[in-house]
Subunit: 303 residues, 2 copies
């Protein structure tokens, strides 16, 4: 099944466009997860606590969400044990019916891009048998190296009904420094990248949804660009980070939803997982309430 | 000790500017490494073979090199076992006196960039004790998200005498698509990035070498840009991929070496490790001979 159609079906079935960002910091885990840590070494204990934290957050907030977005950096810092925790998180989310958008932001030359695709979306042939990768439903990717480095990611994703979500205009303050530069053609760098993303996605639209399997990261912190981004990428699912801790507001995101609700996925990480800092109560109850608040708010904007 | 000074001292001591790229493909490992595989599962066997392959390549070609450049994608596709293989490769190289340039091409918003820095260059505080990262001497990084996302990598690298090597003009054909675009200011995108890299590096030059701890990836496939790149980044170590399989020639790289030999590191991966395909003989002997040929050729260009 085409990734765009899978996404649209999941959004409709769950009545949610919310993506639960999982950026586990071992110093800021839910207390129940720290208490449940097992293992003989600091890294094993930390990784088991991280996995327990992610599982608990999925159990709490997942019912109000359509997907999770694990931040690879947070798992990589725990080495091999962190990879086990990441895989457990992915499997738990998928078992709960959630789509997994792996936030890896990979980008490399063709042969290495193919290896990343095998690692995250596909499988690797070896003399000892095929080795299955992480099994993410989609990954984020960086366009700086050019479309020839995105193509191997997209090829393997497409074969398996999975997706690739390309950074177009990110949510951080420094994004302006390069992405907002104006080219001599009059376009900004992000407009040029948006054009590349639209072309790559137009090769294969979901027959039911009309959505592409190549998405775009478009920061929720710059809603003033959303109309133009949507114009340049009419069939592209947008992943909208930056709500909450980074200052973005769901209310400002309606242009992203124009082709349908599944075309605008709103991601919140610390805003959901650390909601108990503000709201009080248990971490799980606060996370569930905040995810549900965001879900209802985004859904109310229509599509 | 400052990374620029470490690099210069290692290049002088080893009389080499050659970086051994390690991009292990499980289907194209040295036969001795496949024969030595151990483990109960396909992934464990593949990862043990990958580690044996990398160790053998380091033993063979390492004496003619100053550094290794492991390609993270190739290890990531073997999951947790791949991380064990990567760590064994890093430790073996460092024990042999080689610098480790981790080719991870990471780039993410500030809090995630810090997590990548902890993973690859630093350590992660946890309630169970600090968890040491991979211990690379430098990592490659992607500038698309802007300087505020490079800063956390550089901060942690600098604290520990390590480095960050930023993609400026890459070696792949599609690099032209975005990096060669001309801005309305008249600069190309890569010139703009080069300016950012030069500024970030100028904050801290090695007292002995005058080299920065922020390097640049500048493809050996576009030697016509090297004079301009050097002008924009006078103190920046250049990592020059693309020699061999991608068509770059060592003879064309002299402008990179202008501030001193350590300012131009020539990386070759398949050209060294698969030299036996062309040259015959054992993989080890062919790799050693090719690395030594490249070493002597680059060294003869002066600095």
């Amino acid at each position: 099944m085409h990734f765009g159609d899978r996404l649209a079906a999941a959004v409709a079935a769950r009545e949610s466009q919310i993506v639960l960002g999982l950026d586990p910091d071992p110093q800021k885990l839910w207390p129940e997860a720290v208490a449940a840590a097992t293992g003989d070494t600091p890294v094993a204990r930390a990784a088991s606590a991280v996995a327990a934290h992610c599982v608990a957050a999925i159990d709490a907030a997942g019912p109000a969400c359509v997907a999770i977005k694990p931040q690879h950096a947070c798992f990589e810092r725990l080495g091999a044990d962190g990879q086990v925790a990441l895989r457990r998180t992915v499997e738990h989310a998928q078992a709960a019916g959630l789509i997994v958008l792996s936030d890896a932001k990979r980008g490399d030359i063709d042969v290495s891009a193919k290896a990343y695709a095998q690692a995250l979306l596909g499988a690797t042939p070896t003399p000892f048998g095929d080795v299955e990768g992480l099994g993410a439903d989609a990954i984020t990717a960086n366009p700086y190296l050019g479309a020839d480095t995105l193509a191997p990611l997209i090829a393997i994703a497409r074969e398996r009904g999975r997706g690739v979500i390309v950074l177009v205009r990110t949510s951080n303050p420094g994004a302006a420094e390069l992405q907002d530069q104006r080219l001599e053609t009059g376009e900004t760098v992000w407009e040029r990248v948006a054009g590349i993303v639209a072309l790559l996605g137009a090769e294969s639209l979901g027959p039911d949804s009309g959505l592409a399997d190549v998405g775009a990261v478009t920061g929720a912190t710059v809603p003033e660009h959303l109309v133009r981004l949507r114009e340049l990428m009419p069939h592209t699912p947008f992943l909208l980070p930056g709500v909450g801790a980074q200052g973005g507001r769901v209310e400002d995101l309606a242009p992203a939803f124009a082709p349908g609700r599944a075309a605008g996925l709103v991601t919140a990480s610390r805003g959901i997982v650390n909601a108990y800092d503000q709201a009080g109560g248990t971490p799980a109850a606060a996370a569930r309430a905040e995810a549900e608040r965001l879900r209802a708010l985004a859904w109310s904007l229509g599509g």
